[in-house]
Amino acid sequence: MIKIAPVRKQVTVSASQERAFALFTEGMSRWWPATHSTLKSPLKQYVVEPHVGGRWYAVAEDGSTGQTGYVIEWQPPQRLVLAWQLSGDWQFDPELVTEVEVRFVAEAANTTRVELEHRNLQRMGDKAAQVRSMVDAPGGWTAVLESFRNCAAKI
């Protein structure tokens, strides 16, 4: 089994834990790099619905949307775990779950250390290849549909 080490980052900001958490989540549109969007039209909004199971999605200027993942854990203002479901070819893949955990550690009233970990990255290679090959393989949906077509033709 291939293992890919998680991406770990940390940044210390001059802001309270509450403000850091709020900007990271409800204010994501204000800082998310515009270069990173799977949408064709420019990015207008990046939304994290503020509850467990809430969707994490982008809205483009033309109104189209693209899901990135969902909220796995929601513990304001300390911790947040998001599912990042973009596959190796940057398509939303509901079968794929890589995790982005963000911890907001209060170092002082106005100093917060933000620790980010993006893990289970090996699933990108695994899942993308695995799910699609299951669907595309001769024994997958193709076979089911072929069998259906054959039955239908006999009636």
């Binding site: 900007l23 800082w31 993006h118 990108m124």
Partner: protein
């Protein structure tokens, strides 16, 4: 960049299947072709693309050549994400501290 080669290489369904077969462990072209509805030359060609993308590597085993998954291809995706989060967090910090003035 390397990660783009990896992504492009995996965007082909047949090539993804070839890659998937290698998850069982190192295999020869013949072994892979036997499990797929494609010819040996086609499998060889796909392996060539995967190899150039850094997703698979090969070595001689006796008289035959076996192919296996090279973790460097996925590592390229990791490197990209690593750089991406660097940029994202820098932008986050900037925005947060910009908003700090006047509050």
């Amino acid at each position: 960049m390397a990660y783009q080669h990896a992504l492009v290489a995996l965007s082909d369904p047949t090539r993804r299947q070839v890659f998937e077969h290698l998850r069982q462990g190192p295999l020869s072209v013949g072994k892979i072709a036997a499990q797929m509805p494609v010819s040996r030359p086609a499998v060889s060609q796909h392996l060539g693309v995967l190899k150039r993308a850094g997703l698979v590597a090969d070595r001689a085993e006796g008289t035959r050549r076996v192919y296996y998954i090279d973790p460097h291809g996925l590592a390229a995706i990791r490197t990209w994400l690593d750089q991406f989060w660097d940029g994202a967090l820098a932008a986050f910090k900037l925005e947060l501290e910009k908003g700090e003035t006047g509050r």
